[in-house]
Symmetry: C2
Subunit: 183 residues, 2 copies
């Protein structure tokens, strides 16, 4: 990659940005859904909600502003700071699913990850376009044509997906990557 | 790349979108600059204009809407349609220099290049993140860490830059790429 450091691509939603909790809260507050953790395992919200309510959420996501207010995933800031020393980090999000989200996502990154340069941000669709050694993502579909190693970040929806390596949180992700970087 | 087709990454400004003419017209209409072609060879507008005027243009670019009204570069639509048969095409633009331009650039592509899927659009900063066989761009700085072959698309500002291969227009670009794809 023209540098001594390995290159690490990192997804946003469900990996560094907590879209899951925000969506769950919206469904609860707006329509009274009270899903427990068990029912959400292996499922997406739109499989559980009334189709009209799921369409409302989709409209909200398409408007883009929803992504501006997401919480940071636990430990993500420190993890990325630590990993920056050893890896060349790129934030790589499939923003083209919701093109209007680009400005919101950019503002969110500037606020919560100010140490990530805009030059290291990638808004794309098909992640096989990424030239990186590792990709941390909650969707295995992005790994199929990716030339590097996909690392699955656990999320409710991917609980029954078979993929190795898988990490549960940022503590596990840093441990795994520490091992890889020293090989 | 997981496909039989070679992958071709294509820049937007000065390659498929005529930002040069739009900027030149703005400088002329707003501040009366009447630069001839010769004085623009090898130079950027901000090297020639009064710094205050250049700063106004920069503000305009940062607002983003400027990019929505650009003309298509001559022959670009037919060229990309033709090349799509033989190459897997991605539009790869350094939109992170002007983050507010993302929505405008996306809308422009949907209007003028409706056959390009949103999944094939990449807004990035450092283009070394692209996994592609070829990159057509008017800035050689994007070629330095790019792992594929950079193809320089001629623009006034790059006239004195030394790079091979260079193409003057989309007719030359299609000829060159036809030769490469059949090798």
């Amino acid at each position: 990659m023209g540098t001594d450091r390995l290159r690490l691509a990192i997804d946003m939603d469900e990996v560094i940005a907590d879209a899951f909790t925000a969506q769950k809260s919206w469904y609860c507050e707006t329509h009274g859904y009270d899903w427990n953790d068990e029912v959400l395992q292996g499922r997406h919200f739109n499989e559980l909600a009334n189709p009209e309510h799921a369409a409302e959420m989709e409209t909200l996501l398409h408007r883009g502003e929803f992504f501006r207010g997401l919480n940071v995933m636990p430990g993500a800031q420190n993890a990325l700071l630590t990993l920056s020393e050893r890896f060349e980090i790129f934030i790589t999000t499939a923003a083209m699913e919701y093109p209007a989200s680009c400005a919101a996502k950019f503002g969110w990154l500037q606020e919560h990850f100010p140490f990530i340069s805009p030059l290291q941000i990638v808004f794309c669709g098909d992640k096989s376009i990424l030239a990186a050694d590792y990709l941390i993502d909650d969707n295995v579909r992005h790994f199929s044509r990716f030339k590097g190693q996909g690392i699955l970040f656990s999320a409710a929806h991917n609980q029954y997906v078979d993929w190795t390596p898988r990490v549960k949180n940022w503590t596990e992700a840093v441990s795994l990557l520490d091992g890889l970087a020293t090989h």
